[in-house]
């Protein structure tokens, strides 16, 4: 197993009209050989990218805000714009300035962490969205879930918290038990799952699409297939641009939902 194959995730000498089938991308494109192993622990490429994400996010904000000045430099200005986008655009919008201020650092960290993890998808050499491994969005969704549950019961007490989660409302009358069961199921069980999967699936599908057109461009590069390869390559470029957009949108949506869940937890009974 050479390093090239690990990096490219498909066989490089397979072309159309050579009697070689199309090496379609699939689930195996999301599996990586460990870079190194310590005991039973395998350190692979997504983990490396996750660690690099940490370094980059902290590095950027350290450079921007480490020695923050009242009259900002260029980098600080960019950092402030990003910070303000999450703070005003997401947190203050949902939670208000007074109650939201506490959650700003968490949401800012979450947004930039998710965004950079998504962004790896189109960074040359890396070319893999870390969030297309379900474990990463699941870890983040888990943190939000725990936080949201904790806040619900802390704010409303045990019974009040249950009522808040299940949308308990006496005016519903006969359908109340049904509504409570549905709400409980939807909020407590499904919500963290959809929260994680929404991000995961978008990045997973996006990566598959780019991979598909990239591999096809290479595979078709033989005889008459070169014309098709051109079309496929153009699609690769278009999809890369599209992914750039989707990555930011998904990071935004992930943080927006996290904020909304917390807003729901802090709100009075509805």
């Amino acid at each position: 197993m050479s390093a090239d194959q690990t990096l490219l995730a498909f066989e490089t000498d397979c072309h159309i009209f050579d009697g070689c089938g199309f090496p379609a991308p699939g689930l195996h494109s999301f599996l990586f050989e460990p870079i190194f192993s310590i005991g039973g622990f395998d350190f692979n490429k997504p983990m490396l990218l996750a660690v690099l994400t940490t370094v980059i996010v902290i590095g950027f904000f350290w450079a921007a805000f480490g020695k923050a000045k009242v009259v900002p430099g260029k980098l600080q200005m960019v950092g402030e714009a990003g910070y303000d986008f999450v703070r005003r655009g997401i947190v203050y919008e949902a939670l208000g300035k007074k109650e939201g201020e506490k959650y700003v650092p968490f949401m800012v960290s979450l947004f930039f962490f998710v965004w950079i993890m998504n962004l790896w998808s189109i960074i040359p050499v890396a070319q893999f969205p870390v969030t297309s491994i379900i474990a990463f969005p699941a870890a983040l969704a888990l943190i939000v879930y725990v936080m949201w549950m904790y806040l619900t019961f802390k704010r409303h007490g045990f019974v009040g918290g249950l009522k808040n989660i299940t949308g308990y409302d006496k005016s519903l009358g006969g359908v109340l038990p049904l509504a409570v069961i549905l709400e409980f199921f939807s909020n407590v069980l499904v919500r963290p799952f959809t929260h994680a999967v929404r991000l995961f699936a978008n990045m997973f599908a996006g990566h598959l699409l780019i991979l598909m057109f990239t591999i096809a461009s290479w595979y078709l590069l033989n005889g008459i297939g070169i014309a098709y390869a051109g079309v496929s390559f153009v699609m690769t470029v278009i999809m890369t641009g599209f992914e750039l957009f989707i990555q930011a949108v998904q990071a935004y949506v992930f943080v927006l939902l996290a904020t909304n869940y917390i807003q729901g937890a802090l709100a009075e009974h509805h």
Binding site: T54, V70, S109, F136, A139
Partner: protein, 186 residues
């Protein structure tokens, strides 16, 4: 077939999170959250507050300066109005004084003129009296000498002399008064 696929063996369900990745993800995020939450975001918040304070302070300073400028302008205007009043008052006073001075000088001139006229009159009267006295004596003497020579009679006696002179002069005056009267009626 794909070499990777072969080497990995069974494909896992992509929705089942592998534990090592989950742990790495949690740790990675925790580190990011720690640095941003503990150090970097409080840092920028402090600076943003400072900036807001600086902008607000600047605005307050500007407002204070404006108020002061307004105050100074009003003071200046008030002083200007005072000065104008004062100038008008002084002018008025000067005018009044001038009028009074002119009147005084006029009356003084009048008085001096009258004094001079009076003195002139007195002088003339005295001169006339002296001239009349001298004339009376000279004319008397002349008349006596003449009469003495004509009559040959000595009129040494002074009493007689003066009586004679007076008689003569009275006659003379009567005559001249008649002449004057005649002139006046004419």
């Amino acid at each position: 077939m794909n070499a990777l696929l072969a080497s990995e063996g069974e494909l896992e369900n992509p929705l089942l999170p592998p534990i090592p990745e989950l742990v790495i993800g949690l740790i990675a995020f925790a580190i990011v959250f720690f640095f941003l939450g503990k150090k970097l975001l409080p840092n920028i918040n402090k600076v943003l507050d400072e900036r807001r304070a600086a902008i607000q302070g600047g605005m307050e300073k500007a407002a204070a300066a404006q108020t002061e400028a307004q105050q100074v302008l009003e003071d200046y205007r008030a002083q200007l109005a005072d000065a104008r009043h004062e100038a008008a008052r002084l002018r008025q006073e000067a005018q009044e004084q001038g009028v009074a001075l002119i009147a005084e000088m006029r009356s003084e001139g009048q008085r001096q003129r009258e004094e001079i006229i009076a003195a002139g009159h007195a002088q003339i009267e005295a001169d006339r009296k002296a001239a009349a006295a001298t004339l009376r004596q000279d004319v008397g003497q002349l008349a006596i000498d003449l009469a003495g020579r004509i009559v040959g009679e000595s009129l040494a006696d002074s009493a007689r002399q003066s009586r004679t002179i007076d008689r003569f002069l009275d006659a003379l005056e009567d005559k001249s008064a008649d002449v004057t009267k005649a002139e006046a009626t004419r």
